[in-house]
């Protein structure tokens, strides 16, 4: 029996894990075993790698710079890192990933970050304030607007603050379930704007923040599904710039299990590049690890 199978798959208790770990595992839970995943640098990459070692071993991971089905031994710091290319099925370039894989419709899950999000899951990674003289100028789209609209399902990880959860973004890099019509100045459903294209039914399905996990309803509007341990629904509403739907809350976000934490800590980010620190295991778990 491999060591990993001896680690109990039971939820860790408060204090035995940190928030970025909980978020990474929540990302991992979005990955299905038959997914073709296209994820961005940062926690999304860490989350999907964890999934690939646990709940979704057959998921195929695409890394933006041209990597198909990388099997990593060491956590990459970039989607072009040779570490991500390890034991991959094929290596190509951007035309492979954005053309052959993404636009061709192979990608079933895109996982991305964002600076701000609107209530329909539209994301801004470009600028805050006036576009021409912004208060903050971010990196801009990168692959965000491509992956965020051409993948079948899309999930985001975003820091939750009132100024980041908005009725409408000041600049929409990646539209969600509703698109802003520049000419008529009104919202129009993506299904209508994208009618006839192969991606009319593709869009955001989940958002993971530092406070909770969100899903989207039939109308394409975001709603709170679970709140993280130690966070109240009230606090979440205070950190949201629009009237958030909290009618469908299922309860608290499930904490990561010891086995999930073991994989994340020992096999994904053992070098502590993404995670700020390593929390000690409870004595009973450490005993199993020590053998």
């Amino acid at each position: 029996m491999a060591l990993i199978d001896k680690i109990p798959d039971e939820p860790a208790k408060s204090g035995e894990f940190i928030l970025p770990e909980l978020m990474a595992i929540q990302i991992a839970h979005q990955v299905r075993n038959d997914d073709i995943v296209f994820a961005g640098t940062g926690l999304p990459m860490v989350g999907i790698m964890t999934a690939n070692m646990l709940n979704a071993p057959n998921a195929l991971l695409i890394y933006e710079a041209g990597i198909c089905d990388g099997k990593t031994m060491h956590v990459p710091m970039s989607v072009c890192d040779q570490r991500a290319a390890n034991m991959s099925s094929s290596l190509g370039g951007l035309v492979d990933t954005f053309g052959f894989f993404l636009q061709q419709g192979f990608v079933s899950l895109g996982f991305l970050g964002g600076a701000a999000i609107d209530k329909y899951g539209g994301v801004n990674v470009t600028s805050i304030g006036d576009y021409w003289s912004p208060a903050h100028r971010f990196t801009g789209s990168g692959g965000n607007s491509d992956i965020g609209t051409l993948s079948k399902r899309v999930a985001y990880i975003i820091l939750q603050e009132k100024r980041r959860f908005l009725e409408r973004n000041e600049y929409t890099t990646t539209p969600g379930w509703w698109c802003w019509d520049f000419k008529k100045n009104e919202w129009r459903p993506k299904k209508e704007v994208w009618k006839g294209t192969p991606y009319a039914d593709s869009g955001p399905v989940a958002v993971v923040t530092n406070m909770g996990v969100y899903k989207f309803d039939d109308k394409g509007e975001i709603f709170l599904e679970t709140f993280h341990p130690g966070v109240t629904v009230e606090q979440i509403k205070e950190n949201c710039g629009f009237d958030l739907n909290v009618k469908n809350v299922k309860g608290e976000t499930k904490p990561p299990t010891y086995r999930e934490l073991f994989v994340l800590r020992e096999f994904v980010d053992a070098e502590l590049i993404f995670l700020p620190q390593k929390v000690e295991y409870p004595a009973s778990i450490q005993k199993i690890i020590n053998g």
């Binding site: 031994m73 990168g142 051409l150 929409t172």
Partner: protein, 349 residues
């Protein structure tokens, strides 16, 4: 635009000569590799800063060590790209670029990564434009936000397209609306590869990003290599070569010329060094000092690498199996030794 019949004869030359010959003030230029991490032609950007090349129109999919360095001295006037960062996990945003942009010193034209890839593909295959399902409803395709148009630059330089994009209903299959994107056309492309033959045939290992496309989309091509090898050697396994010699103009041999980015199977990226660059860029005084110390101070690229130091270079040296290094400290803990990725050990492929 016709390039037919113009068989080029690549010349092996020094870094200094290649920059002096092919990179002019105001030219449209693109760099190979990927962000600040993979195969950046750093030595060329370094030499450009030293020669004082200015008013550049950089067309790239994203920032890199090259654009970071050129921005540090304000050499970029127009930046047509999709990602203004450079260092991902070692310094995401180019802080100095944001500063220059806010001060009105440069023009930024936003696209997306896929869109820029398609534009370079069109440029490479000689197509004037390419249809792409670039997101309808994104402000990237809001007619209001056309930076080159706003600056009155469209329709003058023949390489700058008259429009940023054109939306069009699919006339063949009726599959909704697509965006027509103009081909990316460059004056100069600069790439950094593992090996280059003396005739110009070039080979890299690892990912290809968009190096081949930018070479074919450019009038002049500079190939910097870790090793200049006999052309005959590369022709023993031509399936491993990516750049045919006839598009290459200049060949520059410059070992470690991609530093601090990685060249797979030669050396790893230097994340700690990139973090120092990122910190320096947060303050104009510190940035100036960094440029004096690392760009203007050393007289040759060899001197830059000597300054980096033997210990660091030993740590960065790639191992022959993985193509990267497990000795460099990238995070707070050293890299573990591993025999098999857990994902493979658990489930096979």
């Amino acid at each position: 635009m016709l390039k037919r019949g113009a068989t080029k004869k690549a010349r092996v030359m020094s870094l200094e000569e290649a920059v002096k010959t092919f990179i002019k003030d105001g030219c449209m230029i693109g760099f190979g590799g990927f962000t600040g991490f993979n195969r950046n032609p750093t030595a060329v950007a370094w030499e450009m800063v030293r020669q004082g090349v200015k008013d550049l129109h950089v067309m790239d999919r994203h920032g890199s060590v090259c654009t970071w360095m050129l921005n540090a001295v304000g050499a970029i006037k127009i930046y047509e790209t999709d990602w203004m960062g450079w260092g991902e996990m070692a310094g995401k945003l180019d802080v100095n670029l944001e500063r220059n942009y806010k001060a009105g010193k440069m023009i930024l034209e936003d696209y997306s990564h896929g869109a820029m890839a398609m534009r370079f593909l069109a440029g490479a295959i000689g197509a004037p434009f390419i249809p792409y399902y670039a997101p309808l409803g994104s402000d990237l395709y809001n007619p209001k936000y056309d930076a080159l148009g706003r600056a009155g630059l469209r329709g003058k330089n023949p390489k700058i397209p008259k429009l940023k994009f054109q939306e069009m209903a699919d006339p063949f299959f009726g599959a909704g609306n697509v965006m027509l994107l103009p081909a990316a056309r460059l004056d100069v492309a600069v790439i950094h590869v593992a090996q280059c033959g003396e005739k110009g045939t070039a080979r890299w290992r690892g990912i290809g990003t968009i190096d081949k496309e930018i070479c074919f989309a450019a009038d002049k091509v500079i190939v910097v290599c870790e090793e200049l090898v006999p052309e005959a050697e590369l022709r023993k396994n031509p399936e491993n070569n990516q750049i045919p010699y006839f598009v290459v103009d200049a060949i520059v041999e410059c070992p470690w010329g991609g530093y601090p980015s990685s060249v797979p199977f030669y050396y790893d990226y230097d994340a700690p060094f990139m973090r120092v660059m990122d910190v320096a860029s947060r303050n104009t005084e510190d940035l100036k000092k960094w440029v004096d110390d690392w760009v203007r101070g050393p007289k040759t690229w060899e001197e830059v690498m000597t300054k980096v130091g033997a210990k660091r270079l030993l740590d960065l040296k790639a191992d022959s199996v993985t193509g990267y290094s497990t000795r460099i400290m990238r995070g707070k803990k050293p890299a573990p030794r591993m025999k098999m990725p857990l994902s493979v050990a658990r489930s096979g492929y």
